[in-house]
Symmetry: C2
Subunit: 195 residues, 2 copies
């Protein structure tokens, strides 16, 4: 039996190069509506979203994030630095300007299981956008204080992710994934499952 959610998850890949072409805002709102139905600790729904469509706001966010990334990249070393180099990643985050829409996701800091709940909701968003033919990245700024300040966010909330959304122009293939047999055990840790 074909499973829509499995097909979408398989098809989805993280995208860092976006077409600058506009996308219908309604598609983004549908995805955020999907997120509002996610479960959350004590049903506190500890998420808020800012949909960012204005070019100058996007540029200011990009600058604020890149400021933190430059500081971060100067310090990083070891295995992670190697991975970043291999992936051709740098402090530059052009997708924050190029993607036609950004969604900034905030977490209510004092809610129970706030982070867990917010990231379930982000999972819902990614699949709802994929279903509508829109690509995404879950970008987590290395230093949230700069974009947080810029967006004049309530003190009770904290920036968790910025999701650029648009049509992909990224030819990089999807990152390879472990198989189910590598990640899943049966009844006890280490006992392999065989399909």
């Amino acid at each position: 039996m074909s499973l829509k959610v499995l097909d979408l998850a398989k098809r989805r890949k993280s995208v860092r190069k976006f077409s600058e072409k506009n996308i219908p805002i309604e598609k983004v709102l549908k995805a955020l509506e999907t997120a509002t139905h996610a479960p959350s600790g004590a049903n506190q729904q500890p998420w808020r979203f800012i949909v960012i469509t204005e070019k100058d706001v996007k540029i200011r966010i990009k600058n604020a994030c890149e400021r933190g990334e430059r500081e971060f990249y100067e310090k990083v070393d070891g295995e992670f630095k190697q991975w970043l180099t291999e992936q051709k990643l740098s402090w530059k985050k052009p997708f924050l300007e190029k993607a036609p829409v950004l969604v900034a996701v905030f977490m209510k800091k004092d809610a129970q299981y706030a982070r867990e709940s917010v990231w379930i909701a982000i999972g819902f968003i990614l699949l709802a956008l994929e279903e509508q033919g829109l690509s995404t990245l879950t970008y987590t700024p290395s230093k949230i204080q700069y974009p947080q300040l810029l967006l004049n966010v309530s003190n009770n909330f904290q920036l968790e992710a910025i999701i650029p959304i648009g049509k992909s122009e990224d030819n990089k293939p999807k990152a390879p994934k472990m198989t189910l047999e590598e990640s899943t055990y049966l009844n006890q840790w280490g006992k392999l499952i065989t399909k």
Copy 2:
């Protein structure tokens, strides 16, 4: 346009009462396969799953979790205690025994953005099970050390959630959710979006 992922998210509710009837394990594996396609920090895929089908393992997990819950419930007070009472929640977690399948979800502790990644994957699992007509709860034990010890988990991994899976026998309605207009702003914090 109808959106499958939105429909599934709307339809899904957290369920605490399950039929004891067996379910096809293949459906659970399909959902976990969906999870393996989730994005993760540096593609580290910091999740592992134990699919628990054996009755005696479920009972021992229930006992281990309830031990922690009893300790937790003795200490809780204030607004959260009131919410728990209103929701008729207690330290008893019968669904850990009654649900035909449990999935224990573990997080690689030293991976980057490990928690964020694991909970995106959990979001994928919830929707993939809902699509297959199976109900779920994202249960987070109050004290993970008891079930963690019981399952003989590698020191590099930490229990994040136990997801009971089965056919719902829970008549409680879905918890009410904020509207999109209550959770979403446009271009700046506090500026309401109007559909």
